[in-house]
């Protein structure tokens, strides 16, 4: 019934933080991105989406974009103007050949796998983009980008037409994401969300948590998370993990394959939890991601490093 005052307060706050006309509080980032695309596409038949290879939407969110109308995906190697331009050109050619009823959308992601996307690169792309192609920013972790660069979220917002911004990640809220954009766009998104069951009731409870999170955690806590990630990276290196990235924000990527040769990632995850009481996520030892957040202490980082060293040693020993 659109009469939850706390949700309205949150939507107001985030809209002005991003510098967009309006905002919509939704259950998840997946839903937010989904609504973003569906709303830009409207009722056209052929739907085009350009995004970078390995963008979160490309890796994990495509299923939710499927409707009766086809979605044509065009991936760019990375988020530089050159590659985005190539993908856009291919996309435009393809869609023009299809017929009149089409709409292309470009989606950028910042931070991208924990790395900040240079605002100058964003600006370049924005300037290149014609007005007929809306620019969406999957800014799930835009908080981290802004805390790292010191550039206000509003500045990022000024370069894009719509943005997804998550409250439930580093910011610490239990649930929720926001979709921001022009007023009539958000009004349309609001109507579309019922189709997948996104119309929730007394969401003010979770909005209150989100408001608190914004107040408490940005930007200082984000900066602390980045420092913690650096500390974590150092700890992991000290036990022999091979560094895969320069820590930019809150994520550390390491190669552990030499420490756990021939081991099963699933077994590893189970053992870490059962024997060491540490919850990790691993699909491939060649690239393991660790994410620092406000509930990770330096002691925890040391414990993790020590546990990995111990486990690697134990497994090497059991082989002899």
């Amino acid at each position: 019934f659109d009469d939850d005052p706390t949700v309205h307060a949150l939507e107001h706050k985030i809209a002005s933080l991003v510098g967009h006309e309006a905002a919509l509080f939704v259950v998840t980032g997946t839903m937010s991105n989904q609504l973003a695309m569906l709303t830009w596409w409207g009722n056209v038949k052929d739907r085009g989406l350009v995004l970078a290879k390995n963008a979160h939407i490309e890796m994990y969110e495509l299923k939710g974009l499927e409707r009766q109308e086809p979605v044509h995906l065009f991936t760019a190697q990375n988020q530089t103007l050159e590659h985005i331009r190539n993908a856009l050109t291919k996309a435009k050619q393809f869609l023009n050949a299809k017929g009149k009823s089409h709409q292309l959308v470009l989606s950028l992601e910042n931070t991208f796998h924990g790395s900040v996307m240079d605002i100058e690169k964003m600006r370049e792309i924005r300037e290149y983009l014609p007005p007929s192609i809306p620019l969406h920013l999957d800014g799930s972790r835009i908080w981290n980008a802004s805390a790292k660069t010191g550039i206000p979220i509003k500045t990022y917002g000024s370069l894009v037409d719509s943005m997804n911004i998550c409250l439930s990640k580093g910011l610490g809220a239990p649930i929720g994401s926001m979709l921001t954009g022009p007023r009539d766009y958000i009004a349309r998104a609001k109507a579309i969300r019922y189709e997948c069951g996104g119309g929730w009731r007394q969401a003010g409870l979770v909005a209150a948590a989100a408001l608190q999170a914004v107040q408490d955690h940005f930007p200082e806590q984000c900066k602390r998370d980045h420092e913690m990630a650096q500390y974590l990276a150092d700890q992991l290196q000290s036990i022999g993990a091979k560094k895969l990235n320069e820590v930019d924000t809150n994520m550390v990527f390491v190669d552990l394959s030499h420490m756990f040769p021939g081991q099963d990632p699933e077994e590893f995850v189970k053992t870490m939890e059962q024997d060491y009481g540490i919850k990790v996520y691993n699909e491939d030892f060649k690239s393991v991601r660790f994410v620092a957040h406000h509930q990770i202490s330096q002691e925890a980082c040391r414990e993790l490093a020590s546990a990995l060293k111990h486990l690697a040693q134990a497994q090497a020993d059991s082989k002899r």
Binding site: F1, V26, V27, T28, T30, M31, S32, Q34, L35, E61, K63, G64, E66, R67, Q68, S168, P174, I175, Y194, E195, C196, G197, G198, G199, W200, R201, Q202, A203, G204, L205, V206, A209, K279, Y281
Partner: protein
Amino acid sequence: MNDSSSNIKVIDVRSDTVTKPTPGMRQAIATAEVGDDVFRDDPTVLHLEEKMARMAGKEAALFVPSGTMGNLICVMAHCSRRGAELLLGDMSHIHLYEQGGCAQIAGVHPRSLKNLPDGTFDLQELEDKIRGDDPHLPVTSLVAIENSHNKCGGKSVSTEWIRQVKQICSKYGLPLHCDGARIFNSCVAEGIDLKTMLKDVDSASICLSKGLGCPIGSVIVGGKELIRAAIRHRKALGGGMRQSGLLAAAGLYALENNIERLNQDHANAKLLAEAINKHGQDRFAVDMKSLDTNIVLMWVDPKLTNPPEVIKRLDEGEPSVKCVQFSPVQVRFTFHLMITREDTDQMINKVYQVISGFINS
């Protein structure tokens, strides 16, 4: 209940979804233990799902953000092949009020069966409409029922009828889903427990945010395989919440405290219905046969006035009674835990004033 912006007392019977968490429920929410439900390690969510599965007599359960999503997920999980067809009542919530998500998102063809005033549909019509094996035809993949039935006025459908529907489904190897948004209202009205009520269905979507008073959410129940598939569909739709234990805690509280009291909502609904019939002079009437649970559908004589006019008059002045139009000739009042006996009396008074106003004009 008060409208804090002016000081007029507001009695909100637009829907039982307007229920706000009580102090006890808020306490449960504030102290809930949480985890990350996408990683399936939120203990409170798991506890709620376990409890609900047990109560429903099903293998497993899944907490979802809304009943619409709950129904959609079940349709997607049951209808995994192309060209699937869903048989359901023509006045069912899934068919009328879920934005055609089954078609839009699941790509499933809905085929409707005529809903009878008691919330059921004709068994022969059901059997006749089950498709044969012919390339002209879609593939019937699911039958859905609704209990209690919203559009039929919160009607509780008979378990005997459900058993007969199940018999037909079994004959043709079809699963049976129940949109049980308000199933607890039916259970309490009939004096039947949830397990018995759901004995003959394969899956159900049960709302926590309506009469049970939770702020958000529904739970779907079904077999292990169905729920396993449901977890994927939920994520794809954008329903994979994180520290949703907060919301699940409200659900657990409601299952402990708010089921039996639904009787009071039914009693209050009956009081209003009786008052309308007493004073309505056949220009305003409630079909008592359809009054099973917490929903009162008041028919408005089109020769006298119309629902928008009635709603407007009920809204004006003090107390302001907020209800909704349900059809070109019906106004719906939905009772819930925020409507006390005193509120009901005041509402009856107001309704009496308004309908008398129309009758005497």
